[in-house]
Amino acid sequence: MKKTILLHDASNQTSKNINKSMIDLTHESHNIILNTIHGNLFNIYQQHKPSYIFLNASEYTQEFQDFLMDHAGDTNIFLFIENNIDNKSLIEFWNSRPVKIIANIQYKNLYNNCVAVYDKMYNEQIFNNKKLNRNDKIAVMLSSDNSKNNTIEEILYPNNFDRKVVVFNNPEFQSPVNLGILNASDLSIVLNSFDGLIDIDQQLYLEAQACNIKYYDIQTVNPKEAIINNNFKTLNANLNDYTYLKFTTEQILPNIKA
């Protein structure tokens, strides 16, 4: 009889990508339930008796806490730690329970039972070189922290600058060249059709490399100088090492039995 895996359909991209890889890799050997389990966790557990349950610390609720109190020993519970958790007593609680932690590399030292650790990853099915014709524009991926976005003001309309520069991904940033929000597939199209990328938070270097867009180096000089001097960063990561599929195959699947 196939064992059941319950995946919480969390809203963050990392979890969505890992869930997709889990489904791709285990859908033949296991029954999979993918659900937003808020308000439903005990019910699903009673009905389906999943052998493996994946929850997210970023969406942790009293319901998850109660479930860990009641059932941590009855089933295999995995907890994704995507963000810094300020609550020390909560970390101590998780460390005292048989909960398997899947942690972002920045926070792994806080947890006793880390079964998998992830760093920056990218989705190779969405981000790849589509060999589209490139326009002459530069895309800026804004930071969610608007104080970091001040560095690009001087290259944006109405300031006089001889390159076409547009910005994305921060609705709070007031500019007539703010063109809105990009989901993953739209981002892939932008990275495949624009001439260059300024990434304020320096978070998209894997996606940029996969799509072969020029990635301006703004760590040593400001964005204006980087554009004027064609100051690009050399991106030479071994992309195959950073896919969600590889992470799931090598670090999560060994913890799942058929």
């Binding site: 524009k137 309309y157 109405p158 076409k164 520069v165 547009v166 994305f168 921060n170 609705p171 709070e172 940033f173 007031q174 007539p176 060249v177 703010n178 063109l179 809105g180 929000i181 990009l182 989901n183 739209d186 932008v190």
Partner: protein, 155 residues
């Protein structure tokens, strides 16, 4: 040539609407051998010099000529129209500036649509259109009908 203006609501208190009607009439004089129509739903104006045909907006779906639009709502309604030979959007406002929470593809599908040509109506819109989207087909202020007529020659 078949030429249409798609204006859902016309209000006689709206100066821009009056200019559009004036432009339609002048266009009829400039191009007497063309079929020129207004596609409209609500007409709150008195146009005693009317030289153009007036049809309901639903008829525009089957209009095989060049169709001019003046706002986002109209161009969205016309997205599935199979018949128009070309769609031309007059850009009067920077609509994408109003709410940055919209997904990029919403605006991209309007302004970068291969079936839609853009005409800018002021310097700021012209500059922003070139930076954010594509080069406008022309820059025409105050619905100058001679310039619109010149644009028609390009299409």
């Amino acid at each position: 040539m078949d030429i249409g203006f798609y204006i859902i609501n016309i209000d006689n208190k709206n100066e821009a609407d009056n200019k559009k009607l004036e432009c339609l009439n002048k266009l009829c004089e400039l191009r007497p051998y063309d079929n020129i129509a207004l596609f409209n739903s609500t007409f709150h104006a008195v146009d005693i010099k009317r030289k153009y045909y007036t049809l309901h907006i639903s008829e525009a779906k089957y209009f095989k000529g060049i169709l001019f639009f003046f706002d986002i709502k109209s161009i969205l309604l016309a997205r599935s129209f199979p018949a128009p030979k070309r769609k031309v959007l007059f850009l009067e406002n920077i609509d994408w500036q109003n709410d940055h929470r919209f997904p990029y593809t919403f605006w991209h599908n309007i302004y970068m649509n291969e079936d839609v040509e853009l005409i800018s109506t002021n310097k700021q819109v012209d500059d922003l259109c070139k930076i954010c989207w594509k080069n406008p087909l022309s820059h025409i202020e105050n619905y100058n009908c001679e310039e619109i007529s010149n644009v028609l020659q390009k299409l």
